[in-house]
Structure formats: C-alpha cells, structure tokens
C-alpha cells in the first residue's frame, strides 16, 4: 500500500513545503494538501482531469487565494490566505512555472519572452538581458534569431522556450503543468531529458502536474495521486502499482492497457 499522505519526507534542503492547503477561499476545489519537494527531487502530481491539479498549481504561485494552509519555497514562505503583494513578488522569483500550452506572449519575440523576467526582477540592461536570454535558450536547445516569433516555433520548441523563461531567475522550484501534452513521443522524451539535465546542473526541485501516466515512468522520485481535490496516495511507482484502489489502478495501469 502507498505510504500515508500526511508524513513528509525528511530532507535538509527543501524546495517546497506545503501544509494543509485548501482553496480557493469560498468555493474550495482542493482540500488539505500537504506537499514536500526537496532540491534535486522530482514529484509527479498525477490525477485524472478535473482532479484539481491545475488549481493546486495556481495556488502554489499565488494566483488563487487559499482558505487555509501555508506554502514555503526554499525557506521563504507567504500566507496564501492573505497574500501580500511584496511577499508574493519575492516568492515568485523563487518559483519557475511552465504553463500548459507554454503561454508565451505571442506579440513579442522568443528572446524578448525570456528577457522579461530578467529585466523586471534583475534590472539588467537590454543588451545584458538579451545575452543572458540567448544563453538560456541555448541551454534548453533552442537557437533562434533575435526577431523569431513564438508562432514560428513548433509546439515542442515553444515548450522549451517556456522552460527557458521559467528558469531565467534560477528558481529553486520548477512547476510544470502538463509539460508534454500534445508532443509526439520523441519530442516528449527529448524534453524530459533536457529537464533532467538542467535539474542535475542547477539542483532545483520539480513538480509535474499531469494526467499522463508516462511521467510516472520517467525518473519521478515520488508520485502523489490527486483525486477529487485530495491527495489520496503518495509513494514510489512500485509501491503505488501494488495498490488495489480503483482510481490509482486506473491511472497507473493505463499504460499497460494502451
């Protein structure tokens, strides 16, 4: 059976620590979530559609107001029930987010997309930010002209640019929402490899929110099963595979069925 959902893993370098998170205030869709991610660790939040994955991710970057709970990234915490703008701003520099569908700004170039957080939070000069953006893009395997627009890249390329933008401020935690959705298997595999290489290099914690069981077969250190807004099980893939719970069984055995 999977381990209890309330026992946090012990680690000295914690990237993310979430206690008893419920929300959004007024009409909660996630309930009493505890989530712990160490630096260098990858946690997969696996759940069917409408299980609350996206809502949980929105809470973790302060896009929703929680009714209860606490969130801390790299030791820096903010009150998710009454987020203060200044605290939220500091908090968000420690978290990188790759939204589903990349969510790149379509009206500006690829390089400018990556430049934005550097200019806003590190107050770099334009030329310096541009060089740093090009370096980041090279790290995720993208080489583009200064005026290349996001629509000129394919879906896989856009996902990599979103990854570069998320890593621009060297966050301690990276959140990815359905990162390989819509990519072919080769592109998805390449994206995973790039992600792992970057994690080895920068030692950030990763949380992947997905309904795709393929992520459970990539080196996720821990899998949290989310259903109905609650984490119903937590553990390694091997321990979860032994579960006879219908939801867990349905999620993890889909690959075999396919």
């Amino acid at each position: 059976m999977p381990s209890s959902t309330s026992s946090p893993p012990s680690s000295s370098e914690r990237a993310l620590e979430v206690h008893h998170l419920s929300g959004p205030a007024g009409s909660p869709l996630i309930f009493d979530i505890d989530l712990f991610v160490d630096c260098g660790e990858t946690v997969l939040v696996l759940g069917p559609i409408q299980s609350g994955k996206s809502m949980l991710m929105r809470h973790l970057v302060g896009l929703e107001c929680a009714s209860t709970g606490s969130i801390a990234v790299d030791g820096f915490s903010f009150d998710p029930t009454r987020p203060d703008e200044k605290a939220l701003r500091k908090f968000r520099t420690r978290v990188g987010v790759v939204f589903e569908g990349s969510a790149l700004l379509r009206r500006i170039s690829v390089v400018e997309n990556v430049e934005l957080p550097l200019l806003e939070h590190q107050h770099r000069s334009r030329s310096n930010a541009r060089d740093a953006a090009q370096e980041l893009l090279a790290e995720v395997g993208i080489e583009v002209e200064a005026d290349t627009m996001p629509v000129q890249l394919g879906r896989a390329g856009q996902r990599r640019v979103a990854l570069a933008r998320a890593l621009a401020l060297h966050p301690r935690l990276l959140l990815l929402d359905e990162p390989t959705l819509g990519l072919d298997s080769q592109a998805a595999h390449d994206f995973d490899e790039t992600l792992q290489a970057l994690q080895r290099r920068y030692n950030f914690g990763i949380v992947i929110f997905s309904h795709e069981v393929r992520h459970a077969y990539a080196p996720a250190n821990e899998i949290d099963i989310l259903a109905g807004g609650r984490i119903i099980a937590r553990g390694s893939r091997e321990s979860l595979l032994e579960s006879d719970d219908a939801v867990i069984h349905g999620l993890l055995h889909r690959r075999e069925r396919e």
Partner: protein
Amino acid sequence: MSLQDSAQGRVSNSYVTREWAVRPARGLRPGGRFLSRGRVAVGALHWLGWIIVSPRSVVSGGVTRELDNLGVGALRLVASASILVGLIATFQVAYQLKQYGAESVSALAIGWFATREVGPLVVALLVVTRSASAIAGEFAAMATSGELDALRAMSLDPVKYLVAPKLAAMCLALPALTIIADGLITLGGWVGTTFFLGFNSRFYLEQIRTSLSTSDLVIGVAKSFLFGFVIAIIASDEGLGIDRRVTAIGEAASRAVVYCLLGVLATDTLINAVFYFIPALVF
C-alpha cells in the same frame, strides 16, 4: 492546465491580491465596472510616467509597435472616411442653407465644426470600431490561453506590459490622426464645394481661412487625446476582466465597442457642456 480543471464550476476570478486582474466579478458589485476601470487607469497612468522616464525599456518598444498598429494601421480608414465626411458635410450644410439662399457659406460651416467637433469625433468613432474590439479581443484571448496568468506568475504587471503601451500609443495616435482628418475633411469640403456646388477654390479657401481658429484646432486635438485615453482604458479593461471561457472573447470585444462608443460620446458631451457653461475656457 486543462480547461476542464480550471472550469470546475468556477467561472469568475476570486479576489487574491490587489493585482488588478484577479478580482471579483464586476457585475456583482455596484459600480464595479467603474472601479475596475479606475484601477486600470491609475495603474496605466503610473506606468505611462515610467515609460516617459525610461524611453529605452522593453515597454517603450511596445509603444512603437502599438503606434504602428493602432495609428499607422488606421491611416487608410481615417483618410478615406474623412474625405467622405467632408463631402457629406458640404452637401448637408449646402442643402440646409439653400432654403435661405446662403449656400455660399457652407464652406464657413465646415471650417467651424470640422476641427473642433467632427474631426475628433469621427476619428474616435473610427478607431473604436477598428481597435477597441481588437484590443479587448487580444487581451481576452491572452486570458483564455493563460498568457496573463503566466505574466502574473512572474510578477509582471499586465497593466505595465500590455495596457500602458497601448494607452501611450492611443494618446499619441488619436491627436495625430485628428490633425490629418481635419485636413482631409477640409479637402472633402473643397471637392464638394468646387466640383459639385460650383464655387471656385479661392472662394472656398478664403471662407475656410475666415472660419478656422487656432483655439478650435487645439480644443479638437485635446479632445482626441482624451478620447484616446477613454478608448484604451475601456477596451483594455473589458479584455482583461473576463473569465476563462472561450466565448468570453467575442463577448468582451463586443462589450468593448459598445462601452467605448458610449464613453467617447459621454466625454464629448461633458467637454461641450463645460465649454458651453464656462465660456471663459474658450481662449
């Protein structure tokens, strides 16, 4: 983020922080629409000041792009419509004055109200039809595709990066377009007066010179600046304040046109009333 996930019976944004875009549904509060527009306006004005002192910022680059789109892009429409408005005004005024045998002063009438009223108003209405729905639709599409969330997740203020460049461009483009429209309405009037009513060009130009005044031109340009402000703020607010439904894009674009038209007309009425009741303001 799956659409289904984000739409679990929850269609309007909840109030998270004081960030403008995450706020209660406006329809649920009395005066909510005015409050939200006021917040967008204050934020945009703040960042407008910042653009002026930081002309090399990435946001200022956006102003150039928006000027090209909202200003230069509207030139053909404004030019052709202005000539037609000049012709319409000539025929209409001449038709009315013909009853009194005063057809010859129709050029005077064009000079009287082209720069002060018709020019700014026609340009504002043309820009509303062309750009208000585009601005609202663009922001609404960004909201549904998650781009606004991505900006906020990086603590990048959408008002600074999206609204302020549009506001700056609109406040620069409308006065410029108005000056061009004033000239072309006069040109349309000349075509009508000379080729259709049979007066000679010299007569027309003399009448126009008599009727044109610098104060009318300045008031017209100042009006168009205010119209630009009203259009940019209302259209942006309508686009940014939507919930995450795909149909909300069309609704936002349609509402933007309606409210911008009303906003421009209300502003014009207010300005005209002020000048009527406080004549000392007419310098």
